[in-house]
C-alpha cells in the first residue's frame, strides 16, 4: 500500500470532520475524492501529509507511519496544495529552480525548459509569476509534477481554472504516471472522471451534540 489511512478521527474548529475514516491507495491506482465544499478534502490531504495530526487513527505512507518519516518527507510524495506557494516577484524559471533545490533534485536546465513546453509555458519562462493569470499559475505548479521523481502524487483541485485542452493534458499526464507504477490521490468538487480511476464520494458525518455534555472537548454524538 502506498498510502493507508486507518480509522481516522479528526475535528476542526470543534466540527467533526472524519469519523472512522479509511482509505487505501495501492500502487498504480488513481483515487478521486469527490465532495462538497467544506467537507474536509483539504484537511484529509493535510492529515495524510502530516501537517495536521488526527486524534485517533494511523496514517502510513509506504507502510511507514507519517510521523516517523520526518526529514525524508520530500522523497515520499509530491503534494500540490490549494495555495500554490509560488512567489509573485520571482520568474517562472526561478520559482521552479527554487522548488527543485528544496526537494533535493538536480536537473539540467534544458530538461526543465523541456518540461515547460508540455503546457506551452516556454514563452513565459522569464515572466514574473505575479503577471500571470490564474490558469497559467496552475499550469506552472502542475509542471512541478513532471519534474518530481516521487511515486505518490497528492493533488488538491488540480483542474481549477484550467481550459479544456489543459485538463485533457493533465489527465493524460496522470494516466501516464499510473502506467509507470505511480499512484495519485486527487480531490475535486465536481464530478469528473479519469479512466481507470476509483471514485470516492465523501460526506461529512451527521452529528449531533449529546445533551449531556461531560467535557467540552468531546461533545459530539454520531447519529
Amino acid at each position: 500500500m502506498v498510502l493507508e489511512i486507518i480509522s481516522v478521527y479528526f475535528r476542526r474548529n470543534k466540527r467533526l470532520i472524519f469519523h472512522n475514516f479509511n482509505l487505501k491507495l495501492a500502487k498504480s491506482q488513481i483515487i478521486i475524492l469527490i465532495g462538497e465544499n467544506g467537507v474536509g478534502k483539504s484537511s484529509l490531504f493535510d492529515l495524510s501529509v502530516g501537517i495536521l495530526k488526527p486524534e485517533k487513527g494511523v496514517i502510513k505512507i509506504n507502510e511507514i507511519p507519517i510521523n516517523e518519516i520526518d526529514q525524508k518527507k520530500k522523497d515520499f510524495f509530491t503534494y500540490l496544495p490549494h495555495k500554490d506557494s509560488l512567489k509573485d516577484y520571482l520568474t517562472v524559471e526561478e520559482n521552479l529552480f527554487n522548488w527543485l533545490e528544496l526537494i533535493d533534485i538536480k536537473i539540467r536546465k534544458e530538461k526543465v525548459l523541456n518540461s515547460l513546453k508540455f503546457f506551452k509555458l516556454n514563452n513565459l519562462k522569464n515572466n514574473l509569476i505575479g503577471n500571470l493569470s490564474q490558469g497559467q499559475r496552475k499550469k506552472v505548479s502542475l509542471t512541478k509534477l513532471l519534474l518530481s521523481k516521487c511515486n505518490l502524487w497528492i493533488l488538491d483541485e488540480p483542474f481549477n481554472g484550467l481550459d479544456i485542452n489543459s485538463i485533457n493534458k493533465t489527465k493524460k499526464m496522470i494516466c501516464n504516471h499510473k502506467a509507470n507504477g505511480g499512484s495519485v490521490l486527487l480531490a475535486s468538487h465536481i464530478n469528473l472522471n479519469i479512466e481507470g480511476s476509483k471514485r470516492i464520494f465523501i460526506k461529512s458525518p451527521k452529528l449531533k451534540i449529546s445533551n449531556k455534555i461531560t467535557n467540552f472537548d468531546s461533545w459530539e454524538k454520531i447519529k
Binding site: 474548529n13 470543534k14 449531533k208 455534555i213 461531560t214 467535557n215 467540552f216 472537548d217
Partner: protein, 239 residues
C-alpha cells in the same frame, strides 16, 4: 484528582456551592482587616501614617504575581494536555490580574509621593511591574482578537509562557539591583523584619483579597462555562 475536577460541569456544580461562601468570608475579613488597618496598628517610625497603604499595596502586588503564575501553569497544562478547564481559568484570570497589577501600581505611586517625593521612579521593580501590566493587556487583547476561541486560547497560552521570564525579574529585582524600592520584609518566615502588630492587618487583608480573587474568578469561570454551553446549543441548531 485534578482530572476528576477537570470536567467543567462538575466544576460548575462545585462553583455554585463555593461561590457565596468565599464572598462572605472575603467581606467579613475585609471589615476585620480594615479595623486593624486603621485602629489596631501603630504608625511606622520612618514612614509615618503612610505605612497603612502597605496593607493593601503588598497583597495586591503578591496577587499580581500569583495570578500570573496561575495563568502560566494553566497555559502549560493546556498546551500539554489540551485541557478545556485550564483554558477557561487562564482566560478568566487575565482581566483580574490586570486589575490587581493596576491597583498595585496606583497605590504604590500614591505611597511614593509622600515617601520618596515623586509619583513615579524608573527603578527595576516598578518597570518590571509595568511590563507585567502590559503583558496582561496583551493576553486580554489576544483572547478577544481571534474569532476562533480555541485558537485564541492556544496563542494566549503561548504568550503567557513567554512572559514567565518577567516573573523572577519582578521578584528579585530589588535584590539584584539595589534600587529605591525597599527589599521584601517578609521573605524570611523565621524572623520577619516587621512588627507583629503590623503583620496582623497585612495578613488579614491578604486573606481577604485572596477570597475576593477566588470569588471573582469563580464568577468569571461560571460565565465562561455558560458561554461555551450557549455555543454548543447554537452549534446544535446549525447542524
Amino acid at each position: 484528582m485534578i482530572f476528576n475536577l477537570a470536567n467543567p460541569l462538575r466544576f460548575q456544580r462545585l462553583i455554585e456551592k463555593i461561590e457565596p461562601i468565599t464572598l462572605n468570608i472575603a467581606i467579613i475579613l475585609l471589615l476585620v482587616g480594615l479595623f486593624f488597618c486603621f485602629f489596631g496598628s501603630p504608625p511606622d517610625y520612618l514612614q509615618g501614617e503612610t505605612v497603612r497603604i502597605m496593607y493593601i499595596h503588598v497583597p495586591c502586588a503578591w496577587f499580581s504575581l500569583m495570578i500570573y503564575s496561575i495563568i502560566a501553569l494553566c497555559s502549560i497544562f493546556s498546551i500539554v494536555f489540551k485541557h478545556t478547564l485550564a483554558d477557561l481559568i487562564s482566560r478568566s484570570c487575565a482581566p483580574i490580574g490586570a486589575c490587581f497589577t493596576l491597583a498595585t501600581l496606583l497605590s504604590g505611586s500614591i505611597w511614593g509621593k509622600p515617601t520618596w517625593g515623586t509619583w513615579w521612579v524608573w527603578d527595576a521593580r516598578l518597570t518590571s511591574e509595568l511590563v507585567l501590566l502590559v503583558i496582561y493587556l496583551g493576553l486580554i487583547i489576544i483572547n478577544n482578537a481571534y474569532e476562533d476561541k480555541s485558537k485564541a486560547d492556544r496563542y494566549s497560552s503561548i504568550l503567557a509562557i513567554i512572559g514567565i521570564i518577567n516573573l523572577p525579574i519582578i521578584k528579585w529585582s530589588v535584590d539584584w539591583w539595589s534600587t529605591l524600592h525597599q527589599p521584601a520584609s517578609i521573605s524570611k518566615f523565621s524572623s520577619p523584619s516587621i512588627d507583629p502588630s503590623m503583620l496582623l492587618p497585612l495578613f488579614i487583608m491578604t486573606f481577604s483579597f485572596f477570597f475576593f480573587f477566588i470569588s471573582i474568578l469563580l464568577v468569571r469561570v461560571r460565565g465562561e462555562i455558560i458561554q461555551r454551553k450557549i455555543e454548543v446549543i447554537r452549534f446544535n441548531r446549525m447542524v
